[in-house]
């Protein structure tokens, strides 16, 4: 019973973080087939922005998450204008943009390693969403209040994204662009402006998920790499661009990882996720929730 609760608790926590990171990635892929390889470093930057805001600027902790969200969005916009904007008309955009954003991510990571390593070597730190080590008990398992903050944060943000996409004119335009770009242009949607907006939104979400991550892990320049990989796995597993599917897939990945870590050993968690993906893709090549089938040419 205890194992079970332990798995649920950490599975939900992993799932919530992966979901937030994956939703950002899936949005950007869905809108214009851009796999943003700099997503991970933007998560890292989110944690750093919050740290800067709270510790070095002495601003109120509560506002650190919105601050990081805005900064993440700005980084997303900059990333758009130094990469995607010039490459959209290329024939192999889907491939070249992966390489370009990968390069961008490496450059940013190198910059962080060079300039901020010394500054932030003391980690983990008491970050904005931190409630310290206090916890409550569920059956005999301690559940920290910190986990509740992560769950609530993920749920609120994902619900807000959902409402934005379904209820607002701008959100409807994002869906329109994702479903049929030319048709969207024919009704007057400025498609490129939508791309910028989506990348800003996706990157803002990445930044916030970076803060959440930093409540469990050290803040260091390479912290975003592993969760970005998991977010990629989540969106591939769900079917690229499928946002609702990504939520379920994130929970599934989180649960499997937690189960293996609790029942077998920590080091097998990632391997288990990879096996899960391989099996899922053999069974459904377009992802669990993907509609189209992928045929090899």
């Amino acid at each position: 019973m205890n194992y079970f609760i332990q798995i649920i608790v950490s599975g939900l926590t992993f799932g919530a973080m992966y979901a937030l990171a994956a939703v950002g990635l899936a949005l950007v892929w869905g809108a214009f087939n851009m796999l943003n390889m700099s997503h991970g470093i933007i998560m890292t930057l989110g944690a750093y922005f919050a740290l800067l805001w709270a510790e070095y600027m002495g601003m109120p902790l509560v506002l650190a998450a919105p601050f990081a969200l805005v900064c993440g969005a700005v980084v997303g916009v900059i990333a758009y204008f130094i990469s995607a904007h010039w490459m959209l008309k290329q024939k192999n955009f889907e491939v070249t943009i992966i390489i370009a954003t990968f390069g961008l991510g490496m450059a940013l990571e190198a910059g962080l390693l060079k300039f901020l390593r010394e500054l932030f070597r003391t980690a983990p730190y008491s970050q904005p969403l931190s409630l310290g080590a206090k916890s409550f008990m569920v059956a005999d398992v301690p559940v920290s209040y910190q986990r509740l903050v992560v769950w609530a944060g993920a749920i609120v943000l994902i619900v807000l994204v959902g409402l934005f996409l379904s209820r607002t004119t701008a959100g409807r335009a994002v869906r329109a662009v994702a479903q049929n770009r030319d048709a969207a242009r024919l009704v007057g949607v400025p498609v490129r402006r939508i791309y910028v907006m989506v990348l800003a939104l996706g990157s803002g979400l990445a930044a916030v998920s970076g803060i959440m991550l930093s409540s469990f892990k050290d803040v260091h320049p390479l912290m975003g790499g592993d969760p970005m990989l998991k977010a990629f796995i989540v969106i591939v597993l769900a079917g690229l661009g499928n946002i609702t599917g990504a939520l379920y897939a994130a929970l599934l990945v989180g649960m499997v990882e937690a189960a293996v870590k609790v029942l077998i050993a920590d080091k097998y968690g990632f391997a288990a996720i990879l096996i899960l993906v391989i099996l899922a893709l053999i069974w459904k090549p377009a992802g669990i929730f993907g509609r189209s089938t992928v045929a090899r040419q």
């Binding site: 869906r175 329109a176 048709a183 007057g188």
Partner: protein, 238 residues
């Protein structure tokens, strides 16, 4: 004579070195219904794509309301009043009928009048009203075409460009769609219509242009076309 609303002058266009349209010139006066008739694959849709900004012509000019517009982006052209009503494959498949219609009124001017206009669309195309919550991908071919028409009409627009409204549809559905086009003509809307099938437009069109392998080979009104059986047989196989 007053300036036509839309003027195309010496237009060339193509894909990757392959020329699809050669030296196309035609005028669409305000309030007229002008048609472009021709077999499949001879450049009709390409011309509409050029006018609506989805594609850039390689040579020539397009003027709308006295201003040069070729090379402008599609979303800018919708704002100026050029509305293309594409074939049924240009919808938003994962959105409901209502959301698709709402997207038609994306621009602020159209959005302000959406509630009032959508009722008019439901009267004109009652089938859409029965299907408001259904996803566009689940509609039949005819219903999709009607949705494309409804969405286009909600954009407002000074000129409506129909891309083969009868393609692949059952005769009874084609009748319904042409009834709508007839109504629009009676209301004085300016229409550029692209068709493969001469029967429906001979009576309706103010002027017909015959397109063959990317060139306009003949132009005149419906009665002239009707009396020249040889033209019909040569270009449209009867």
């Amino acid at each position: 004579m007053t300036e036509p609303l839309l003027r195309i002058d010496g237009l060339h266009a193509g894909y990757e070195g392959q020329i699809v349209l050669r030296d196309i010139s035609l005028d669409v006066p305000e309030g007229a219904l002008i048609t472009l008739l021709g077999p499949n694959g001879h450049g009709k849709t390409t011309l509409l794509r050029c006018i609506s900004g989805l594609m850039k012509p390689s040579k020539g000019r397009i003027e709308f309301a006295g201003k040069r517009i070729d090379g402008l982006e599609a979303d800018k052209l919708v704002a100026r009043g050029i509305v293309m009503i594409p074939q049924g494959d240009m919808l938003f498949p994962e959105m409901s009928v209502y959301d698709n219609l709402k997207m038609g009124a994306y621009l602020p001017v159209a959005r302000a009048k959406f509630d009032e206009n959508v009722e008019r669309i439901y009267t004109l195309l009652p089938r859409l009203k029965e299907r408001t919550t259904q996803l566009a991908r689940t509609l039949s071919g005819g219903e999709r075409r009607m949705l494309a028409i409804g969405r286009g009409l909600l954009s407002g627009g000074r000129i409506l460009m129909f891309d083969e409204p009868s393609l692949g549809l059952a005769p009874i559905v084609i009748d319904q769609i042409y009834e709508v086009i007839n109504d629009l003509k009676a209301q004085g809307r300016t229409i550029l219509l692209v068709e493969e099938n001469a029967d429906r437009i001979i009576e309706l069109a103010d002027r017909i242009h015959l397109l063959d392998t990317g060139q306009i080979v003949w132009a005149g009104d419906g009665h002239e076309l009707d009396s020249q059986q040889q033209i019909l047989e040569t270009y449209l196989g009867g």
